[in-house]
Symmetry: C2
Subunit: 356 residues, 2 copies
């Protein structure tokens, strides 16, 4: 149990106006959590302080060698008047797995969750009430050792910041276009693809820009070895409904193990769907699309929850799905997951952690 | 031509003592260079200021998505009393190539070099005079946009810091042991392996730690697809002398295009060696070692210049080279390159830039 010292801001900021679109990740609340680490001392000085700039030596590891990991989850104003977190223990576990890969010291799961809870409790008035709005929570850990040699840092900071967000797609639950990337690669087995670390995202920016320029909102990555097996989408895992079955890439070491992905798999199984996690050749998807059995495609992720895919572009071919509309299962999953998060749908799986 | 505003420190630090081992990248000089970038405005406000901490919003891109690149080069106290830089134009060019891959705005080559020159000129008293000592120069660019969405940053900082360094291997030019990594992967074609960006180094830390624990100072990476073609060593490119010929992996998109690598290739060719840049199967090296034609192995990099390799560990096999001693060509290359850098050997190729 952390003994978190709280220093409240003396100059609270104005909350966003009711009609502010709350563009993802642009506005931050009044406070943030910080905890330091030093080799031989462990994690120390957990504290909540006014949100503000951080000061680091220019030689700090994170500026040069990318030794950092992050997480993302949300807090919701529930229909019962309380505040809900969705499976924060899963973020704590994944953060530690990412840290293991990056040689960053682990944080006890209960401390990770406690820090989130206390910070969200303090800034809960920042959670927006409008439909599809929430408070995005960004925990991250950075190496801060002022040392240019290539080794693991002896000093770290664990920081949590909060950002009130509107719907990820301001136009509403509207199907997105996906660009299948056949030139650049995000990650490869043996690499850092399954860790939530900056390097994977840095590798993806160029493709993301290219896809945007062509009018597609996300990139679908293929594997780095054969260049034909489906991995994941920019900020999401990907699902296909083919001939009544739900199919998604298996976790193979280069794919991020999404928490929404895990939740959707569990829900689909409970609903009686065959859910198949396997290596998926992009040719299988093309084949299913050609023979009319590609019924739905959607992405899953914390930011957008469920993101229906209306079209996939592969080379010169554009595969349209559901006539570009929202599939029935995609919509049902969106309603179920967001329903649980908001407390509208009964939480039968112990996924909700209430803050009070 | 940049108009660099200079603010000198009012509290100069004590220079390191003459017998300080100057461990790589731990001590920094009195000043640093900073230049900012904003979308629509370009690079602006180039300035030299006292070395000190930098202040950033916790949402800054570099902390989350790894959008940053860096360079490394050195300044030397030359035998003629002046200060030498070694091929700084190559660092400027490579920095821009790295930036292109990471969607970071380019810096005009002449501005990049000018910033280095003016900073080194101001802090030239920090360049150590002892043999094999120099002033390590670390230019780096970081995305500073306080925005959690995954897109290219609208704001950057270009910073240069300086660190007086002793020999990379304090024991002197002593052959190192290399661990051939067959489990983890650094980079893959289509990825960011040829860019000098944090993500590649973050991916390498775990292997580096493992190799160190086993008593090896560096890791040799194999390709991410076939897991058998030689890529590069942790902080260096790698060369083999086999049956009189010089062989090194070709630049394939996942290998860092080293400046010392390029210099060594040119020098070896001028010395009459056949230099072969090609895809090298690790089995070829094993074969050459077994039949006695693996004459020398060495790494090339700015930090260590030439690093003779005394043994290579592959699985359960340890391949010893040159009876663990320094090869004749490795030593000759070390003397030639460091000779040029220090002005002891005539610069016939226009590689030296003098600062005055």
């Amino acid at each position: 149990m952390l003994d978190i010292k709280v220093t409240k801001t003396e100059t609270p900021k104005a909350k966003p106006a009711k009609d502010d679109p709350l563009l993802f990740g642009t506005i931050f609340t009044d406070h943030m959590f910080i905890m330091d680490y030093a080799e031989g001392k462990g994690w120390y000085d957990p504290r909540i302080v006014p949100y503000g700039d951080i000061t680091l030596p220019p030689a700090a590891t994170i500026f040069h060698y990318g030794q950092g990991v992050f997480e993302g989850l949300k807090a919701y104003n529930a229909v019962d008047g309380g505040v809900n977190l969705f499976r924060p223990d899963m973020n704590a576990k994944r953060s530690n797995r990412s840290s293991d890969r990056l040689c960053i010291p682990e944080i006890p799961e209960e401390d990770f969750v406690q820090a989130i809870e206390e910070l969200v409790e303090l800034d809960k008035d920042w959670i927006p009430n409008e439909p599809d709005h929430s408070l995005y929570i960004r925990p991250f850990i950075i190496g801060t050792d002022p040392f240019l040699g290539l080794r693991t840092s002896a000093y770290y900071k664990f920081i949590i910041i909060l950002s009130p967000v509107g719907p990820y797609y301001p136009e509403g639950l509207d199907p997105v276009g996906i660009w299948i990337e056949d030139d650049y690669v995000r990650a490869v087995r043996g690499g850092i693809g399954e860790a939530k670390t900056g390097g994977n995202y840095a590798a993806s920016i160029l493709s993301q820009v290219k896809a945007h320029d062509e009018g597609y909102s996300q990139v679908l990555w293929l594997d780095g070895v054969y260049r034909k097996y489906i991995e994941e989408v920019g900020a999401m895992n990907i699902f296909f409904k083919i001939d009544g079955k739900v199919v998604t890439p298996m976790l193979n070491g280069s794919i991020l193990p999404g928490i929404t992905r895990d939740s959707v798999i569990q829900i689909c199984k409970e609903w009686g769907y065959d859910v198949i996690e396997k290596r998926i050749d992009i040719a299988e998807i093309e084949e299913a699309w050609k023979n009319g059995t590609l019924e739905e495609v959607w992405g899953t992720g914390t930011a957008a929850v469920i993101s229906p895919v209306g079209k996939l572009r592969m080379g010169d071919e554009i595969m349209q799905v559901q006539d570009g509309g929202i599939g029935e299962l995609s919509q049902r999953l969106y309603d179920e997951v967001t329903g649980i998060q908001l407390g509208k749908v009964k939480d039968t799986r112990g996924w909700i952690v209430k803050i009070d």
